[in-house]
Symmetry: C2
Subunit: 113 residues, 2 copies
Amino acid sequence: MLSTASVSAQSSSNYMRIAKIVVDSAQLENYTIALKEQMKTALKLEEGVLAYSAVQDKNNPTHITILETYASLAAYQKHTQAPHFKKYKSTVENMVKSLELTEVEPIAISAKK
Amino acid sequence: MLSTASVSAQSSSNYMRIAKIVVDSAQLENYTIALKEQMKTALKLEEGVLAYSAVQDKNNPTHITILETYASLAAYQKHTQAPHFKKYKSTVENMVKSLELTEVEPIAISAKK
């Protein structure tokens, strides 16, 4: 096998969190559109927004998990004040049935080069 | 801001899962050593093992979440038969208090270039 592993550009000073979200099933498509727009804009415009991995349970697609990586706690706090984030929050306010946030620390974040 | 977003090399045919693991607190350091060794070896030796993101809860470090990406279900099934995975499973057998596996589908996996 020729592939080698690389550790992505993440350091111990990064700020990471997991958001577990349950979405109203009737709003799932609209929710994912708003989420993808928010992710794309934040990664493009904000230096301190480093990565998002958003997935949905195969057997329960309204159950969504997002692993979020910011350069620092300050970068995350700045992100929560950004216009695109505020727009996302107000757009999805009535789509989200529950939201559980957990601060996490990396053990290892690795991917094929 | 100069950074642009990139979508990593993941396709809809990929097979993804989330493992939620609770580790015996007395064994946490040994567990993370075994986990990192397994991840590193699998990414190096197995073409179909694409990415791992392993994190632990900041306020509850024995609670570990791993987002796993394989090229396909077949690649995952092959992985479970690999010597390094079998070694990991036997090494951590008495360190793991609970294990919850969920198959997931990507909504969007994006990171800074």
